[in-house]
Symmetry: C2
Subunit: 326 residues, 2 copies
Amino acid sequence: MPVSTNQPKFSDDSIKVVALAGGVGGAKMVDGLSQVLIPENLAVVVNTGDDFEHLGLHISPDLDTVCYTLAGIANPDTGWGRANETWQTMKAIEEMGGPTWFRLGDRDLGLHLERTRRMREGQSLSQVTEFFCQVFGIRSRVLPMTDQLVPTRVYTVDGELPFQEYFVHHHCEPKVTGFRFDGIERSKPTKGLLGTIQAADLVIICPSNPWVSIDPILSVPGIRPAVEKSVVLAISPIIGGQTIKGPAAKIYAELGIQPSAQAVAHHYGSLLDGIVLDKVDIGQAENIQKQGIKTCVTDILMKTPSDRTRLAKIVKNFGISLIKRS
Amino acid sequence: MPVSTNQPKFSDDSIKVVALAGGVGGAKMVDGLSQVLIPENLAVVVNTGDDFEHLGLHISPDLDTVCYTLAGIANPDTGWGRANETWQTMKAIEEMGGPTWFRLGDRDLGLHLERTRRMREGQSLSQVTEFFCQVFGIRSRVLPMTDQLVPTRVYTVDGELPFQEYFVHHHCEPKVTGFRFDGIERSKPTKGLLGTIQAADLVIICPSNPWVSIDPILSVPGIRPAVEKSVVLAISPIIGGQTIKGPAAKIYAELGIQPSAQAVAHHYGSLLDGIVLDKVDIGQAENIQKQGIKTCVTDILMKTPSDRTRLAKIVKNFGISLIKRS
């Protein structure tokens, strides 16, 4: 929520937006936004808490999902990886008794190998990401939240697990008791990130997992204070008490919180000027408004590409209304 | 050439052979040998001077060519890599402006990734190789010459080059002035290698490049002295002054030596009891015999799989005759 009334002037068409995003839901939302905004006026800050080293390669699952989606080459069936993928390398690894729980397609592997090679040569994750975006013809900016490794650790009743072990290897089965983002207090936002937030008219928190996609971003020193000064809206990742993809609802329940749009609004609290929630959750709007958060109720499920632009238009207009009121 | 007359007793059928091999020519020869010997009685000592790290992966070109060939899954068109290969990862790396001069197929990459993973976990190259041979159903033993990295460096008129830079990236074009095998004086033969040579009835030097495939093997401390005590024969990699594959003839010429079977015999010198040379080089047999080296003249070009077994039978019988004379 903005603390200053000196909002930068903007026209509705050239509104500058920063989106905070995790994986699939975030990628769909920014894909829609990139089509209803001037693409160059959209910057996406992506969670890297999921990043890990696997088979000696630097893997950035959320970053890749966002980039592949914006490039129009994401795999529509899986929600991760590339379209028209083949699996020959994975088959060979399987033949040799190697680890196959984290599936890497042949084309996807090319990116991981080349990214890892560039990073070993001394390039930062953000430099490599910028270069890949150029190659893929992505006009919006994609910024990893930080260039440092800040691996998400999941506290579960079975002990502490690295995020991908929890998420992919154990299919989110162990009951969660909490999270930490290892080394986050010593991390720094990527170059230009804070300035981009400051220059933005609006910050959009995508319908990503609040606990493991958005909280890591907001925990990088400097990012939350910068976001607090902006007009901020979130799109609920919870519809009718469920998540479309991923374990957000399960995590809420395990932490003793009823999963709902209202819980999401409460999670972000005073950061928010507004929240977009689904029609099925209209009953929660009044309570959310009592927290001082404006609501916008619509269909928020994105099944088709046209759903993404339809929702993005609504989000954009809701954002403009929040800016004008602020 | 054996220095002791206490040869181990053997029957022709159960003759124990150690083959020293580099890449394509060596692989074809050992493939033939594995079919005319009891496979378990054949051990192949493979050059690892070509090994290098590429895209963060441990690549062992000669070892892989030998193993893929013995497993019956070598690419018959290229002489390296796997049959029925696909190239999706390489295409993706190319799109991203990464290095593509060293071609790695999708299935081949699976092996490099899994080998590198196992080596990072602490397994030695020979342990990983033994495991892969089990997976591939290879009954002969395949031993890297050493578990240490001893990279071949090529002295050229354009300066010193790492071997794969010379061999693949620069297509063997720079004029060669010499070689060194970095760190070889501190390397050790892989576990069991010297004992295997001592227990063998015959050592066969495959038709591989004497300078960059066989010399590295013989330069690992302990291997040459062990080979010297054995009955040894070589198959010439030079036919009519030419090599079938690779730069051996070019290297001989650049070092001021006429490339010929005789030059190969001279190269190995007193190590040899016998050499197998091609019919077109029959004129060189007399001069070679004057060095005290027995000759066997036949067709040594291996175009088809049946050529491999035909030559292997001749080599085996020639070897048996040398053992009986020694």
